[in-house]
């Protein structure tokens, strides 16, 4: 006869409420782990998907995912000349936050190196890749921009031609793909008045120089468009992505590129590691600490619940001792109840998570290894929680029945 199941059956409502409470707590623990996994998945999604072998970034920087990185756009031509390199493409990444139809729209602008890269590698759920050099964009579904929608960014209007799902940056903002030149136009857009003032300032500075006075033509060029001034560099890009030829030695090519003093080279894995050890690491530790706290709270609540249930049975335990029940019978009763509560709570947490986690604003990834880890934790806290009740039960004297 299993006393634990008999007791549970007799106090079903109370046990059900306890299981629900524990289940919700465990769902939070499970969810925290899933949020952490989701953070990593979201953060590394672009790096994984974009398929570059090497990332070439501004010298002495950690790349665009860690800090500002600026390299000249023509760096890709230099890199293509390195033996073993199959291709190189410019990469632009920056975050913008604009108003659209009265709501705040925050997105990570990604530049595709047109015409080599149309974005065919981007996993679309609907629509197509970029079909022209300007005024088209691919947006993630999380940005809530429908296919065909037109959105004004800077001085230009862009049409949504493709939709992705789950393509977000490390901050959880949806990715939007443009050509590099459009991405730069959005990034470096300044109002017309600011352009006019800058050109006037340039002319004023040139007038203050001897060369400006002896070469009047320079003064006319100074207040013209920036692209007409060879002394001013064209807009720079965030990085250059390198694809290697099949069988090429990545370490050797990286070493060759690392010899150039104006750049730094990272493999894809190094770029991922930098990303994870940067901003994601603090979130990971914060979530980890919160998770530990939740486990401790769950243990305390379970322990108090089991203890209270044991206190309610003190008279019955005394009776069992009086009629000669071994300690194993009594320990088994308490331990089994704790394990049943823990197991059902865990199952409920998993079941509820199936419905709740997809509705979270950020990705929640529940992996089997995490589920097994949590199952072990639940087993541990169930045993730990029952110790208080067992300790109380062992103190009960048989003559308590007579009182």
């Amino acid at each position: 006869m299993n006393l634990a199941t008999k007791d549970i059956g007799h106090n079903l409502g109370r046990f059900a409420l306890t299981v629900v409470g524990i289940g919700l707590l465990l769902m939070l623990v499970m969810g925290m782990g899933g949020i952490y996994r989701g953070l990593i998945a979201e953060a590394t999604l672009l790096i994984d998907t974009i398929g570059a072998d090497l990332w070439v970034v501004q010298g002495s920087t950690r790349g665009p995912f860690a800090e500002i990185s600026r390299v000249p756009a023509n760096l890709e031509d230099r890199i293509r000349a390195v033996p073993g390199v199959a291709g190189a493409r410019r990469f632009v990444s920056h975050t913008v936050q604009r108003e659209h139809h009265g709501r705040s729209l925050r997105m990570v602008v990604q530049g595709l190196a047109w015409p080599e890269d149309h974005g065919e590698w981007i996993p679309l759920v609907v629509g197509r890749a970029l079909g022209q050099a300007h005024y088209e964009m691919i947006a993630d579904r999380s940005l809530r921009l429908p296919l065909g929608e037109q959105i004004e960014l800077g001085k230009d209007v862009y049409e949504i031609v493709g939709i992705t799902k789950g393509m977000v940056g490390s901050g959880g903002d949806g990715l939007a793909f443009f050509t590099v030149s459009d991405a730069q136009a959005i990034q470096f857009n300044v109002p017309g008045e600011a352009t006019r003032l800058e050109r006037a300032a340039r002319r004023s500075r040139a007038e203050g120089q001897d060369i400006g006075q002896v070469q009047p033509l320079l003064l006319e060029r100074a207040d013209g468009p920036t692209r007409g001034l060879p002394v001013l560099a064209p807009p720079q890009v965030s990085a250059v992505l390198v694809t290697l030829q099949p069988g090429a030695d990545a370490a050797k090519i990286a070493a060759t590129l690392a010899g150039w003093p104006d750049i730094t080279v990272y493999t894809t894995q190094q770029q991922i590691d930098l990303l994870l050890s940067g901003m994601v690491d603090k979130s990971r530790r914060q979530i980890g600490l919160f998770r530990v706290l939740l486990v401790i709270i769950s243990t305390i609540i379970m322990a108090l619940t089991i203890y209270t249930l044991t206190l309610d049975k003190v008279h019955d335990i005394a009776l069992l001792k009086l009629i000669g029940a071994r300690n194993t019978v009594i320990v088994g009763l308490i331990l089994q109840e704790a394990l049943i509560i823990g197991t059902l709570g865990y199952g409920l947490a998993w079941w509820l998570g199936q419905f709740a986690f997809p509705k979270f604003p950020r990705l929640v990834v529940i992996e089997t290894s995490d589920l097994l880890w949590l199952a072990g934790i639940v087993l541990g806290i169930s045993v730990l929680a029952s110790l208080l009740g067992i300790w109380e039960a062992m103190r009960v004297e048989p003559n308590k029945v007579l009182s």
């Binding site: 006869m1 006393l3 008999k6 007791d7 059956g9 007799h10 106090n11 008279h315 019955d316 009776l319 069992l320 001792k321 009086l322 009629i323 000669g324 029940a325 071994r326 019978v329 004297e397 048989p398 003559n399 029945v401 007579l402």
Partner: protein, 251 residues
């Protein structure tokens, strides 16, 4: 060690004394009490509150050992003062049965399960335990309530189930502490007659602590306790009053 049911008295207690506290707070709850109850004998233990009846009952029930004295149950020495000579819990499980003022049934077990659990903790197989449970409940007239939880039973039915539980493991001694206090006179008498029946038919010695003067004719012998001392009162079952004041120690 197994008690010898064929010859030995159900219980022999020698010079039991129980002292609580020490110094100025010392209280002698039981003073040099000796007692012998034979197999199939039903004895009553009377006395006012605080006389030491429950102290004696818990001492011979191996729940609350005496400060001094010796207890032999079914021929097996089990306690020498407060020093156990056997595993007391195991001995209680195998050889003693308890009935209390309240039935003290486990509320989350049915009537049958309350009886069955006493056997299962004594390593009786569930099948055998269930068979004997049904026999006992039938014997005690509550087999029709076997599947009811205790709170669905009347006080008398609960007490019958408690008696069945006490008899489950064929005890050599049944100890009952005011088992009829919560019952009306009719049901109280039924329970007392039940003790007599099980003692005579099952061969157990039965000690009943009671205040109920209406059913004294059921008992083979009556002991009175006062100020921690025990003395023989009346022998009524055979119709002959026992001489008062005779020594109550075992022969």
């Amino acid at each position: 060690m197994k008690p010898d049911h064929s010859k030995a008295p159900a219980i022999e207690a020698f010079n039991l004394t129980k002292v609580y506290g020490h110094g100025n707070t010392e209280v002698v709850a039981m003073n040099d009490v000796s007692l012998c109850v034979k197999q199939s004998e039903v004895v009553a233990l009377l006395g006012p509150s605080g006389a030491g009846k429950s102290t004696l009952l818990t001492a011979v029930g191996l729940i609350n050992p005496p400060t001094s004295g010796r207890i032999v149950i079914g021929g097996v020495p089990v306690l020498d003062a407060d020093r156990p000579l056997v595993d007391l819990r195991s001995f209680r499980r195998k050889h003693l049965g308890f009935v209390f003022q309240k039935a003290n049934l486990i509320p989350f077990l049915t009537a049958a399960e309350n009886v069955q659990i006493a056997m299962e903790i004594n390593d009786v197989t569930p099948r055998d335990a269930h068979r004997r449970t049904m026999e006992l409940l039938d014997y005690l007239g509550v087999s029709d309530r076997a599947n009811n939880l205790p709170d669905a039973l009347s006080g008398g039915q609960q007490q019958r189930v408690a008696v069945a539980r006490a008899l489950a493991n064929h005890p050599s001694l049944v100890l009952a502490d005011e088992p009829t206090a919560a019952l009306d006179s009719h049901r109280g008498r039924q329970v007392m007659e039940l003790f007599r029946k099980v003692a005579h038919e099952q061969g157990a010695g039965v000690i009943v602590v009671t205040h109920d003067q209406r059913a004294l004719d059921i008992f083979d012998r009556i002991f009175e306790m006062e100020d921690g001392r025990l003395r023989l009162g009346l022998t009524v079952a055979g119709g002959q009053p026992a001489p008062r004041g005779i020594r109550d120690t075992p022969e």
